[in-house]
Subunit: 239 residues, 2 copies
């Protein structure tokens, strides 16, 4: 008998299984449609067993978010390796962010649920920290590129600006833009069809505002997006 028995392996793997099933239900039925009895039934185990791994429903949701966040980190880590000037590499990052949203559409819905204070408050400090850590890793990668931009001379920030603040700007546009896109009837009313393209453009204009060379008028960053997609993310389905 191996030191780790079959049973033990089954238990070790269960959290992952629970999250897989939960994600499936969440995708189909959303926050209100995800409930512990349904997870248990779908898993073929008793409800009580789920509570051995997650202290409540909200914790399951947070764990799903952390899981997808790991995927995003992996994508960012690939994007950062794109060969080019700092601003092109930042565009590669934008491409990664866009592909992430497209390929893991449930993540944004999870983020929205978790942004409700009374929901996140029910989760454990520990998992919350795990989420923060994952986010910080994404931010660090992006901030690194801003520093590269400064070091290579393409970007010079005013005295009172720090690299992290530029990241905040990009993050706001992406987070805000994707949120508005997904959940607002309003957009259609505005006659905007291609929201992804628009988020790209706005990120570009923001960086133009900081005077980061080459400006988007000098270099076609949409072409860079295509390049990044074929060179780095060819394993993701075409749009």
């Amino acid at each position: 008998m191996s030191t780790v028995t079959k049973k033990q392996r089954e238990i070790i793997d269960r959290p992952r299984q629970i999250l897989r099933v939960s994600r499936d239900i969440f995708r189909k039925r959303g926050y209100l449609g995800l409930n512990m009895d349904r997870i248990a039934e779908q898993m073929g185990i008793a409800k009580g067993t789920i509570y051995q791994h997650f202290k409540n429903k909200e914790e399951v949701i947070l764990a799903m978010a952390v899981e997808t966040l790991e995927k995003r980190i992996a994508m960012f880590e690939r994007a950062v390796l794109f060969q080019g000037c700092a601003r092109s590499r930042m565009a590669a990052m934008g491409c990664a962010a866009e592909l992430f949203v497209i390929n893991f559409p449930d993540h944004f819905e999870l983020e929205k649920v978790l942004s409700c204070s009374s929901i996140i408050e029910k989760t454990s400090e520990k998992l919350q920290t795990a989420k923060t850590v994952a986010e910080m890793r994404c931010i660090s990668l992006v901030a690194g590129l801003v520093r590269d931009g400064i070091a290579s001379g393409g970007l010079s920030l005013p005295n009172d600006f720090k690299p992290d603040q530029v990241v905040f700007g990009l993050w706001s546009i992406s987070y805000g833009g994707y949120s508005i896109m997904e959940s607002q009837e309003t957009l259609k009313q505005m006659g905007i069809e291609n929201g992804f393209r628009l988020v790209r453009d706005m990120n570009n204009k923001l960086l133009d505002g900081f005077g980061w060379k080459p400006l988007s008028s000098e270099l076609d960053y949409n072409a860079i997006f295509d390049e990044v997609r074929t060179l780095i993310f060819s394993d993701f389905p075409k749009p």
Copy 2:
């Protein structure tokens, strides 16, 4: 006896009362803490009566959001009257948006709850439309300023950009930025203290990116914010 009796007036006024009480509970206890029994108890009426005015809990939440949105429209309508160049008036709009978030902090929490698809799906088409209409009014006001900017020569948009798209950018930064500010431990980790100031700066940089004159390097838009606050919004408490 007047044509409208005391009783009738009481009934007509009840939705407003319900929303007042609900907002109070929501502020203190959030989405999960707001429940129909609690509202009824606090109002001194039976639960069933509430259902004469709102078809369910989510509808109450949506109605609260529409109510605050009206406040925002009023603030935007005041801001647009600021005397100055188009870009300064846009700054006035930014000031209004900022003051709105500060003075109606529950609105953002409401937005977050309502951005969850399984929650908004429980509400009536009718109220959803009311929210969209209110949002469109805000957007129109801002888009009008972009057009003024173009007309007065300070701004010239590239061919493939429409005024509404600029609004989308500003809206994304504000929506995204305020969301991140409110609900993220991450920000503190990033060493960002003054989120409001940062949202202002990012909006400015975005408009700089579009080349909207005078650029933020040529005119101190933070000074404009102070001016707007004293001239137009003196009835709002100082920060």
